[in-house]
């Protein structure tokens, strides 16, 4: 499993360096040229593919978190979360069943 998706050199006002950590995974998803306009909804399938996850059938619920806060609005863009920062670190968290 590679840590890097596609390292690129792009303008940092349009792109950022994205790291996504899946809590129990050994490696992180890394995109050195993620578009600031990309939404969390658009990002999710790319991250699922990397971590070999699937939401087919809606069995599992996954969510992104940033700095300990759950990002519930999936239309939020990476740029809106990162603000002026060049790097963005997200966690992908599985919502486990409660008994």
């Amino acid at each position: 499993m590679s840590d890097t998706i596609h390292p690129t050199e792009k303008s940092l006002d349009q792109y950022l360096v994205l790291h996504v950590r899946y809590l129990g995974a050994q490696h992180q998803f890394v995109d050195d040229g993620a578009a600031r306009t990309e939404t969390l909804a658009a990002l999710l399938p790319r991250v699922f593919e990397f971590f070999h996850l699937s939401d087919h059938g809606g069995h599992k619920i996954y969510m992104f978190t940033h700095d300990g806060e759950v990002l519930r609005n999936t239309s939020t863009t990476l740029g809106e979360i990162a603000k002026s920062h060049e790097k963005l670190k997200l966690d992908l968290v599985e919502q486990f069943e409660q008994g």
């Binding site: 809590l23 129990g24 995974a25 050994q26 059938g57 069995h59 599992k60 619920i61 978190t65 300990g68 806060e69 759950v70 966690d91 968290v93 486990f96 069943e97 409660q98 008994g99």
Partner: protein
């Protein structure tokens, strides 16, 4: 009985998790009463003065973890006030009824057959348990358990 591979990975993970950014907020120590066990002192981001000591024990490293909270003074595991109130945690029952814990699956054997609740063995079980616990403290904490 933990396999040599599980014991080796556990030792490796104990070193690796100390390097996580979150680890500056933790105090980790081995639980030598079992081969695969640790204790960790944690606090919720919203209430740094509320300290909780979790005891994490694995029968098999790739199975859901047993989670208990210990009284900070006595280390007793039967004190509801030693528990934080978080998503799925039941201080009065001294368990966390969620599908990432052993206790949750003991209460709900049907979860093993449910797509949503099936426990997917993680690559890094110790990291998952610690980060999931910190996630719950940071995002769903509502206060200390009642006596």
């Amino acid at each position: 009985m933990a396999s040599p591979f599980e014991l080796s990975l556990f030792e490796k993970e104990l070193v690796e998790v100390e390097a996580l950014p979150e680890a500056v907020r933790w105090t980790l120590e081995r639980d030598d009463t079992v081969p695969l066990g640790l204790r960790v002192l944690m606090h919720p981001a919203s209430k740094p003065s509320d300290h909780y000591m979790a005891r994490l024990q694995w029968g098999g490293l790739f199975n859901p973890v047993s989670l208990k909270f210990l009284n900070l003074s006595t280390r007793a595991d039967n004190d509801p006030t030693a528990w934080p109130q978080c998503y799925g945690f039941r201080p009065g029952q001294l368990d966390a009824c969620v599908s990432w814990t052993k206790e949750g699956h003991q209460l709900h054997p049907e979860w093993a057959q449910s797509g949503r609740s099936t426990f997917r063995p993680p690559e890094r079980p110790v990291q998952l348990a610690l980060l999931q616990l910190q996630h719950e403290l940071d995002t769903s904490y509502t206060g200390r358990g009642k006596a």
